[in-house]
């Protein structure tokens, strides 16, 4: 509901009767170029939308960007050149996958580092615990009896 509601507000704000993302008239004749354009579109953010790619967005701005991507591709740009062109024009905000650099270093490295740290921590915790003394103290019969009266009391 929440994202839908958010989208609903978004639609109300920026669309007027438009209801498809990629339009037939935008598509390139050359199938290879069109496929590349679609791939690129998924990596690019419609800047007036909430985390939507220009491939999915119905906003007029997204359409402009889609046309721009296709124009650059037709002129012979490589995928990277198209991305560079858009970043130069709109900033890194336009990339849905931010490049790895100083200010995104935490974003990119935190998850793998956390996994690594967790794994190392577990490894040493396992070693320290000592595998020899695996058997924990078991409950005495008295404790067992008390536990069962505590937890298995009928619920009525």
């Amino acid at each position: 509901m929440r994202r839908l509601a958010a989208m609903a507000l978004l639609f109300a704000a920026i669309t007027s009767g438009r209801s498809l993302a990629v339009q037939p008239d935008e598509m390139l004749k050359d199938q290879n170029l069109e496929a590349r354009a679609r791939e690129l579109s998924r990596e690019l953010r419609c800047m007036v939308c909430q985390n939507q790619s220009i491939d999915d967005s119905e906003a007029p701005l997204a359409r402009d960007l889609r046309l721009l991507v296709r124009e650059r591709l037709t002129k012979g740009d490589t995928d990277q050149q198209v991305l560079d062109f858009l970043v130069a024009r709109y900033g890194e905000f336009v990339l849905l996958k931010p490049p790895l650099e100083g200010r995104t270093i935490i974003l990119w490295t935190l998850p793998p580092l956390a996994l690594l740290a967790g794994a190392i921590g577990l490894f040493f915790a396992g070693r320290r615990r000592g595998l020899g003394q695996l058997e924990p103290a078991t409950l005495s019969n008295e404790e067992r009896r008390r536990l069962s009266t505590l937890v298995d009391k009928p619920r009525d």
């Binding site: 958010a6 909430q50 069962s148």
Partner: protein, 659 residues
Amino acid sequence: MIPELGHFALVLALGLGVIQSIVPVIGVQRRDGSLMRLAISTALAQFVFVALSFLALTICYVTSDFSVATVYENSHSTMPLVYKFTSAWGNHEGSMLLWVLILSLFGALVALFGSNLPASLKSHVLAVQSWIACAFYLFILLTSNPFMRLVPAPFEGRDLNPILQDIGLAIHPPLLYLGYVGFSIAFSFAIAALLEGRIDAAWARWVRPWTLAAWMCLTVGIAMGSYWAYYELGWGGFWFWDPVENASLMPWLAGTALLHSAVVMEKRNALKIWTILLAILAFSLSLVGTFLVRSGVLTSVHTFASDPARGVFILAILVIFIGGGLSLFAWRAPLLKQGGLFAPISREGALVLNNLFLTTACLTVFVGTLYPLALEAVTGTKISVGAPFFNLTFGPLFVPLLFAMPFGPLLAWKRGDVLGVAQRLMAAFAVGLVTIAIVVATASEVSILAPFGIGLALFVMAGAVTDVVERVGLFRVPLSVVRQRAAGLPRSVWGTAFAHFGIAVTLLGVVTVGTWASERIVGLKPSQTVSLSGFDLTFDGLVQRSGPNYRELIGKFTVRRGGLPIATMEPAKRSFESRATTTTEAALLTRGFSQVYLSLGDVNDDGSVAVRLYYKPLVLLIWIGAIVMMLGGTLSLSDRRLRIGAPRPAAKPAVQPAE
């Protein structure tokens, strides 16, 4: 009159909440049973008053009382009755009231069904539950009063957001909130245990059913939201890595981890501190989710609430509860005694591994969702973190998790034999490898990931089946014995098998759709035909129709397969005058688990109409998987008594001494 009564009932609930926040705690300190028992009555009464308040709001909506500001903003007299009901929570104020309704419902359920809890634990749990409730009652009363009147009363409302005028609104938010808020019980139990400085396996046994119930609701709630977005948004996507979705995914991941670590604690008395921490984190992430969505922090335009007062208030709630919870944890957790030791290769070890991956996955989503906000707040730089980032970081974490999944239930407690388990999984490996081979041989031009993903899904499914087959001794003992054993198998074993099977079903759907979905975007004139994946769709023309509060333009299509007509499809575009908005109503044709998806675009000047046509192979599996997971949860939940693994007490005295 009715709105005032509703408002008043909410104020009374707050009053009861304040009493329940304080008195039971004093009762525990003074060992005064009557003070402790007070929490039971107040918890029930709180629920009654919040329910009355909610009822009052619903009456305002159903009778279209436009003198109430939120009704005016979010309802319309011509709306069908079902949407008048659901629009009560299709807005910020009403959805917060639904939030506290569910919170007080859980409080009342603990009061009702918690008779087997030790009195002091129960009092603490209910008190903590009431702290949360009071914070949110205050939030509603001070910043988001749903009963605010308008003078003079307008004649007509401004209508509910057209996209919300869907049956999805009746199901998705309540389920999602049952999940979100349900984790508050785990949180309250964790805080209560920390306050008491004592925790044991029985604690996990009490917490697990609540967590499981919340997790089931959240699972289906997320899946419902995903299906709703799929058919409503007109381009057939089912998951967008949108911050609002991530807000619901994070508690789900933490809750899933909690469910698994609680098993270890319940059966083996180990991982206590970690389980407590997860219980705090799961609800904290629910609060973070509420904050993200309700405060308007994501982008002020896009959320319901763009009022900064609300954001600051929720942030304060967040800081108090998460900060307080974690501080209490840091202070008291060292008091908790660690129990049960185990070797790294064991059932416990497998569950620890599960927790490692799930929490890392949760952290990935957390960082990806909040990093852009934090970066912008600190440096002013705006970056985007979207689907390509999450696919690259989140996906790889789930692969080892899923691969290890069939091993877990087959490993023995304390010390397991991974080679022995691998041998028992031979059949499952074979299924996976054969699948990979078949996919590689038959499918052309697909990435290497597709056959691997499908193989993994089938391996996990086969693994889940293996678990049950091994336990009942199928192919090894006579069928009659198998039947006996199957009936005697603890329900939780079935639950595990179903839940694990379900996630594999979802994976299968995701991979298939991601790889083999096909798409055509064309402009069609009447009687022209478009073909896709063996389906030929002929455009028969456009018709106008008017609904109760909208006008719609319907495209009529005949679907043929091999020349024979098999169905008609009628995608539509609805325009709602009240909001000057259009929505797309995609037409879906279900064949087995696959769907043909057709949505209508603009009508061009030359009389052609733009259509978007998709074939989505096995797409329904994505959501069916979630339902299977929920079934697993239900089975496990029905196994309350057996789950602890302790022998059932023999003949009990008929009369229990009163507490």
